[in-house]
């Protein structure tokens, strides 16, 4: 009786994801990066170099058995640094998306549910944010706050929450006409309680999909900010920063910028693919095409 009952939706979703090879592959890559970044200090060959300790006598060694990804301009093991970088990138992705969701979704749901003046005010505010190109806006914000990883994350969150507000508002507008919402209103449940008790759980699906897809954009944007020197600062093993410092050596010592670049590419691709198939799986229309359950 008290057994853990997954909802039917969740079960079908899991089943369909298992069937989708690309989704499984991307999920595998994501899980791999997550595990690797959690245990980074225990699995990398040179933890101290990963964190930034220079080893002058081993500069620019090509990939070998000892240094599978070679060494950089300060003699540090690139593999160790890429693995340590995974920690930063994944954290940035999760942090930026979560903060954007936490700010944007409640505001969007409230705007959509209450409508009228509340809606007008909140949506005009999001319009103001959305009228700037988001990366440009983020750059302006970091420039004001001062360069640094944390400031970069904050500015990315600030530029991104309006997208979630828009998405959540659209959801709220459709869901609020559902009879179960009317039933709660008849019972006399207060507006805000309805928003969080009934609207939020039922509006979450497309928001999760969007969040997964945005994870890659967040990682890319953060790498971009670091690349132009506004994000993480040396000696941080941030991928964008590594590509940035390594790019002048691309022709002579290709392994220095290429491996962190590859890592960015892989993680971004994996999140994108996973988000894509999650969207397909959660969309009832494409679910029908996927065969009967």
């Amino acid at each position: 009786m008290n057994k853990l009952t997954l909802s039917k939706e969740t079960k079908i979703t899991l089943k369909l994801i298992k069937r989708d090879k690309l989704a499984m592959l991307s999920l595998l890559i994501i899980t791999f990066f997550i595990i690797v970044s959690i245990f980074a200090p225990f699995i990398v060959p040179y933890p101290s170099q990963g964190e930034g300790l220079p080893v002058p006598e081993k500069r620019f060694l090509p990939p070998s058995f000892e240094n599978p990804f070679g060494t950089d301009y300060l003699g540090r093991d690139v593999l160790s640094r890429v693995i340590f970088g995974a920690r930063i990138s994944l954290f940035v992705g999760i942090f930026v998306v979560c903060v954007a969701i936490i700010i944007g979704v409640p505001l969007g749901l409230i705007a959509g549910y209450f409508g009228g003046k509340v809606d007008d005010v909140l949506m005009r505010i999001t319009d103001v944010f959305l009228s700037f190109p988001s990366l440009l806006f983020a750059i302006a914000l970091v420039a004001t706050l001062g360069p640094g990883l944390f400031n970069a994350m904050i500015s990315l969150s600030i530029t991104w929450w309006p997208w979630y507000a828009r998405l959540a508002r659209a959801q709220a507008v459709t869901i609020k006409e559902q009879p179960y919402i009317l039933a709660s209103q008849v019972i006399g449940v207060k507006g805000l309680t309805i928003v969080f008790r009934h609207l939020l759980p039922n509006a979450l699906t497309p928001i999760i999909v969007q969040g997964t897809m945005d994870m890659s954009s967040a990682i890319l944007a953060e790498a971009g900010l670091s690349f132009i020197g506004l994000g993480a600062q040396a000696p941080s093993p941030e991928w964008g920063l590594m590509v940035s410092t390594g790019r002048i050596y691309l022709l002579n010592y290709w392994w220095f910028p290429v491996f962190p670049g590859l890592a960015i590419f892989l993680v971004a691709l994996a999140f994108n693919l996973f988000g894509d198939s999650l969207r397909d799986v959660l969309d009832p229309k494409s679910r029908k095409a996927g065969g009967q359950m």
């Binding site: 009317l182 006399g188 039922n202």
Partner: protein, 322 residues
């Protein structure tokens, strides 16, 4: 004193034709009055789109009527203070047509039925649990259903859950918005029986909204027939069903349910058109086989022809009945 009394209630909407078009007035509910006594059932019959649900929403305070007053035990709803409104929310509940959309799919039956209780009462966990089990027993379910989700139950079971939620606060009036039309015929009967039993047990009043006269006949003491936002006939069930007066009621009694959705859409469009084209006179005129000159000029008023039996039709009142 009647439990609920509606006095000249209207709900009008504006519809704009095109971007620069004139605003047009749509009278979804137009100048209707009725009252309902405690412990009785009022059947509200009419085609889809005739304003039944709009009227119900006005009664539930989900929308405010454009004009007119709704009195609850003699008090005007629009002038109630928040505590009185709380009391009103406790006293008037609704059961919807489709039990699958009227229950939140992400909530367990336990949470669904607890919602009205925890909203209005401070209650501890064990008391709540015994109350939930009691409610489920009343509607013919048991405690094994508590931790299930709506999609794990059948339509009939879900409708029982919706009824349990509606009676959780011991209401005095339940609005039943076509509560059986989404269910199988065999299940319909059991739900109707349950509603009858509950009415006797708790002395409930019902407003039973339906397009199906057969179902309404089974449960109502009093029937109102609605067309295009107006009441056309109202009276005790036996009178309405036995000796219908208004041509529309007669047509309804002759008509069978329409299984063809296209027909349904046509009907709605027809009523919408009738509403838009209305330039005075009787709303039913276009479809009426007995239309007279008088019907084009003036709008018929409700007239009491027999005891408690009202009809709004010049043909019935003045015309010769051959």
């Amino acid at each position: 004193m009647p439990l609920i009394e509606a006095k000249n209630v209207s709900k009008h909407y504006y519809k704009r034709k095109g971007f620069f078009g004139k605003k047009e007035l749509i009278k979804a509910v137009d100048n209707v009055s009725f009252s309902i006594e405690k412990g009785t059932t009022l059947g509200l019959v009419g085609e889809t789109g005739c304003g039944k649900t709009t009227l119900a929403k006005c009664l539930l305070r989900l929308i405010n009527p454009t004009s007119g007053a709704i009195l609850f035990k003699g008090k005007d709803l629009s002038k109630m203070k928040s505590e009185e409104l709380d009391d009103y929310h406790r006293s008037v509940q609704i059961v919807f047509q489709n039990p699958f959309t009227s229950l939140n799919p992400r909530m367990t039956i336990r949470n669904i039925i607890s919602e009205p209780i925890i909203t209005h009462k401070k209650i501890n966990k064990t008391e709540l649990e015994t109350e939930l089990v009691r409610l489920l027993k009343v509607v013919g379910l048991n405690e094994t259903h508590l931790s299930r989700y709506p999609h794990e139950l059948s339509g009939g079971q879900n409708q029982r859950v919706a009824i349990a939620r509606a009676i959780a606060l011991n209401p005095e009036l339940i609005i039943l918005d076509e509560p059986t039309s989404a269910l199988d015929v065999s299940v319909q009967a059991t739900i109707l029986n349950l509603l009858n039993e509950l009415q006797k047990q708790f002395n409930l009043s019902y407003i039973f909204i339906s397009h199906d006269l057969g179902v309404v006949r089974f449960i109502s003491d009093y029937i109102i027939v609605m067309y295009s936002g107006k009441f056309v006939e109202m009276g005790p069930s036996e009178d309405i069903l036995g000796q219908p007066l208004h041509p529309y009621t007669k047509m309804l009694l002759l008509a069978l349910p329409l299984p063809d959705p296209k027909k349904k859409i046509e009907l709605i469009q027809h009523q919408m058109k009738a509403l838009e084209d209305w330039r005075g006179g009787c709303v039913f005129l276009q479809k009426c086989p007995y239309g007279m000159e008088l019907c084009k000029k003036e709008e018929p008023e409700m007239v009491e022809v027999r005891e408690k039996h009202f009809v709004a039709c010049y043909y019935t009142i003045k015309g010769d009945r051959r």
